[in-house]
Point group: C2
Chain length 340, copies 2
Amino acid sequence: MDIAHPYLMFLGDVHDQLAAKTAHGIVDWRREWCLGQTRLPGCQADLGLPEMTIAEGVAAGAKTLIVGVANAGGVLPAHWVATIVQAIEAGLDVASGLHVRLGQIPEIREAAAHNGVQLFDVRHNDQTFATGKGTKRSGLRLLTVGTDCSSGKKYTALALERAMRARGLDADFRATGQTGVFISGHGVAIDAVVADFISGAVEWLAPAAAPGHWDLIEGQGSLFHPSFAGVSLGLLHGAQPDAFVVCHEPTRRTMRGVTHALPTIAEVIELTVRCGRLTNPAIRPVGIAINTKALGEAEARALLAELAHEHGLPATDPVRYGVDVLVDRLLADFPESGRV
Amino acid sequence: MDIAHPYLMFLGDVHDQLAAKTAHGIVDWRREWCLGQTRLPGCQADLGLPEMTIAEGVAAGAKTLIVGVANAGGVLPAHWVATIVQAIEAGLDVASGLHVRLGQIPEIREAAAHNGVQLFDVRHNDQTFATGKGTKRSGLRLLTVGTDCSSGKKYTALALERAMRARGLDADFRATGQTGVFISGHGVAIDAVVADFISGAVEWLAPAAAPGHWDLIEGQGSLFHPSFAGVSLGLLHGAQPDAFVVCHEPTRRTMRGVTHALPTIAEVIELTVRCGRLTNPAIRPVGIAINTKALGEAEARALLAELAHEHGLPATDPVRYGVDVLVDRLLADFPESGRV
């Protein structure tokens, strides 16, 4: 899926900012793509963007209406449909992160067909992929991996893209989850792909590229998560990363949604190298990204220093301290990294 | 899916026995469920079953028409449709292993709706599963794993079911592939499940059971296969096996469909234990199953003896020498194994 930007952000009438988490993520990373926000009466989320009607958004040049909100039950409230149909009639594509597919709502399906616009459901995937081949492709690839789900893998990959581009490096974020797909306008929600095609979908997502080009691939789950490790392994094999960064939330005691303890960072490094060698014998860790939100300044600094020493890798909190130490290490380890 | 038996086997007019491989597998393992075969003029496959018309099959008590053949392109030939519709009108369910879904053919879809029969597409899966939880369930489980795809995992699990039942043990084959689903009348084609639900689907397939009951779970792919390892890992975590058997084809040099070398049996054992411990800390290998078809008698015996010695595990060719040595080991290692 290639979602055309700029975007007009539709927030419906959700009851809090958390319900618009995806939309906030898009604004955080692609402010320049977000022209304005359209809200219904009573909406409690606010992206801090100019308020716009559909007509104003279209006049400003919007290409796609983004439904980047979550609501209870994952359904599309009936009173949101009129706004979406209005956008379609004004010629906008619509991209949604809801569980329900846009095309399941007859008014939306018919309006889209009638007006020749595209509907994107980023949680779903109907694309046909080849099975993975595991053949080495040209170009450089970095994968963010984790000790658990929701440990900063998307944030770290996006922060690396921003920092690398700021240094003139040739680097692209590659989205494997729904928020990431909105942020890059491209990608595949890898957990929605049919199991046989996990690695093949990633081979499609991060194809052969110029020798010095970096694909920064958003990781998913964890090789140690009993619900999702299959996704993580297929993603690792398809990504065939030259480098990986381990993401970790140090105050978490059990993995998301289950009762299993988190693996150690050392275990994640060891198993990632062990399995990743299948499709890239030169795979190596290049850093550690820690979410230190729950720690004081001294505590955070001490933890990062300790981890850096223990693993012989740069360790940072991408939110608090940026990712320059990771980029420095990447450039040192991969002098072939290219500039744009 | 629960496919009602006995079966009437429909072979269309396929051009050779190989195209009816799935149907042959069903007859090999469930002869007692197969009442007869229905063939179109020119059919070159023969299951050695009594020839029957649809009406004769129904009169004999058939519950389901099985389309257990492969044809070029995976489509359903137009001239097969009339026979399938005739079966539906006679009250039979229809189960197909073709890539195309039965319900995509309007005449079949409408006949099924009109006559209230069920259509099963064993290559597809529309069932909703929960994500895997990784919580230990009661009962005993064995998983067949492999150095590659197509290395005898289904055959070994079925042979174990037969041998264990012959000794009065409480054991059930659990199908994770299309032929296996036909053979057990139940199961899930695990490679067709959405990636997020691989381990969850296996938890559904092999649920909590009596303490001494064995589920014999059909493995898929290999942890070392660059196309399918994600499926294999999710299957391992969902199966949480107490015991596993490694299946291997000793003359194969590269993995199916790719250029990668096969892993060694020792590597498969080590990585299976390493990853399997996540959901069953007591996981252990109980044997090795080798396809010795390409070897002479002396050579086969020597290889099995050598492997048994090297790994400290019973080694057999299930086709050539049966699986009694594997059952002996299972009973020795798991004295809690129950009888029916």
